[in-house]
Amino acid sequence: MTLLESNFLPLFKGTFLYTVLGLVAIAIIVTVILYFRAQRMKRIYGVMEEPKKEFAWTFWIMLIAAGLAVFLIKEGLEGGVGMLNTLFFAAFPYITVAIFILGSIYRYRNTGFKVSSLSTQFLEGKQLFWGSQPFHWGILFLFVGHLVAFLFPRSVIGWNGEPVRLLILEISSFVFALSALYGLIVLIYRRLGTRRISMVTNKMDMLVYVVLFTQITSGLGIALFARWGSTWFASTLTPYLRSIFAFNPDIAAVTAMPWFVQVHIISAFFIIAVIPFSRFMHFLVAPIDYIWRNYQVVVWNYNRKLIRKSTRHTFGRKIKNH
């Protein structure tokens, strides 16, 4: 009788514990290696004045953590652990919305001028074009599609009545999702591979990428493996979302969904929660009026003579009219 077959340690059954132990072991080994490498670098080159910003590690670690979280959520929900269903589908939405509202107000009031997604177009424009266009058009169409299915479920069900129309809707949504995924991968590659951009990157950006990656891949999984989601979203998930907005959550239908649908829902609410603390903040300040506003002529009214004569030098800062 081996340890695996015994009832002595029920946790040793299944791969879960081994996964966790393996990850912890890898993390410890990596930390030790990095520590000694840093010590050696310090001995050879002395203390560096400017920290070298590298985000590839952050990204991969976060991606693995997200995978682990998805695995845990799947196991927990399928195993019917405690009140996980109530927690994720009845309480979590309200928690995230509360965080979103309070966090947004906090960020507006405290760092109002930083409410943006910190454009890097000046630093790198070519890859941005190839990635940002397909990503944003794809994700915008998907967002509008979800919104329409939420607001006008009957019209969506009616449109899908004809099999050809259902196919058109499903395939075009699939195209938008693929386009968003392609754009996202290009953007991740760009941000991790360009040194100029890494100077204005922070860890929340990596989180944004990981969350979006989870969201888009789980959405693609739904389209493929739980297909014709456009109609069953309108008929089963719209009542659930409406019950949330009516402050009377009805989670029976969501509980019975496959795990990747549940992951898609949970990660969508997670996105709402991190809006105020990440570059997602640009949802709230999207310059929609740019679409119809006129051209603007920008003229810097710097006084060249004053600048030349100025004695107010600050390191790393351009002198302006003072």
Partner: protein
């Protein structure tokens, strides 16, 4: 909860921004309010109110009645008369919450039932609380003592009247299944969640069970009772207030019978949907990328000084390599 959120929003938006002390104070208040409301929400979920007998009847109707009768007669599953005497309450509760787990764990009685009903699994009702299940069990009548021997004969005496349908009903059912004709109460079409392999029907959804041989397993009574009052939570939600008319139920049952009769010589068509989605998706992606890249190709992709910068960097890799 709604009032609290609205209050928080308005309070914060209306407060003057230079009022620092007031701001921190109100922040504290908001946090306190929010924690209280979050506590209320969570607490409300945790407190379970014991269900009454009336609830038991309603719950039975909503969850069980489409497969089980309160008499000893078999519908889809066995009749439940006298079940409280036959099995212990703990056994029933764990069976109702997750039948397949008991079968897989090798409970002898559970395996016997599973085998008896052609390995047709019962729906798991994990979302019902113990109290709710007890309330439902309370309304199930006990077995009449005198009728022990007579039950078998009684079953033979009154067989369920067979449903009568024609070819046209089956064709109408196919149109309803694919959604080409709408349900009267505007419910969603079956094909969005279910697949059947049948010529002329597109490959259906994968969210729920493949219904190609459903009529062979459940027969008229089972199919029609599940369609008219779905015991599955997602399906029940989808047809909540949009239930099918008796005629539609009849037509769909007829269609399922045709599909089942046709199934031996019919190849499985469910992989067609993958080909359509993946093929259409990748072709569409290329077309879509060409469109958006062409549409915005006039965009300036490099900074104004990019050319100057490149010229300066020629032969000097240490600057920005």
């Amino acid at each position: 909860m709604m009032h609290i959120i609205v209050c928080i929003v308005f309070r914060n938006l209306l407060l003057p921004s230079n009022f620092e002390e007031q701001f921190t104070l109100s922040d504290m208040r908001i946090l306190r309010l929010l924690s209280i409301s979050a506590g209320l929400i969570l607490g409300g979920q945790l407190i379970s109110i014991p269900a009454s007998a009336q609830d038991g009847e309603a719950l039975f109707k909503a969850n069980c009645a489409s497969c089980h009768k309160l008499s000893s007669k078999r519908l889809v599953g066995p009749g439940l008369e006298g079940i409280n005497e036959k099995r212990s309450e703990e056994w029933l509760i764990s069976w109702i919450k997750d039948p397949m787990k008991m079968v897989n764990d090798g409970d002898a009685e559970a395996v016997a039932i599973f085998e008896e009903y052609n390995k047709l699994p019962m729906t798991a009702f994990g979302f019902l609380s113990d109290d709710e299940i007890k309330a439902m069990l309370a309304i199930i009548p006990g077995k009449p003592a005198a009728a022990e021997g007579a039950t078998a004969e009684a079953e033979e005496e009154e067989p369920v009247a067979p449903m009568e349908y024609t070819e046209e009903d089956a064709i109408a059912g196919q149109l309803l299944f694919t959604g080409e004709s709408r349900f009267v109460n505007s419910g969603p079409s079956c094909v969005t969640c279910h697949h059947v392999s049948f010529p002329g029907v597109m490959s259906g959804g994968l969210l729920a069970k493949d219904l190609t041989d459903v009529h062979g397993r459940l027969l008229d009574a089972g199919v029609s009772s599940i369609i008219s009052a779905p015991p599955f939570p997602a399906m029940a939600d989808a047809y909540n207030g949009k239930s099918l008319t008796d005629e539609e139920v009849l037509q769909l049952t007829a269609f399922f019978k045709t599909v089942n009769n046709n199934s031996p010589e019919q190849a499985d068509t469910s992989s067609m949907g993958f080909i359509q989605l993946l093929g259409g998706g990748f072709i569409g992606l290329i077309v879509w990328l060409v469109i958006i890249y062409a549409m915005w190709s006039y965009r300036k992709k490099e900074s104004v000084k990019a050319d100057i910068f490149k010229r300066q960097l020629k032969g000097n890799d240490s600057v920005n390599s």
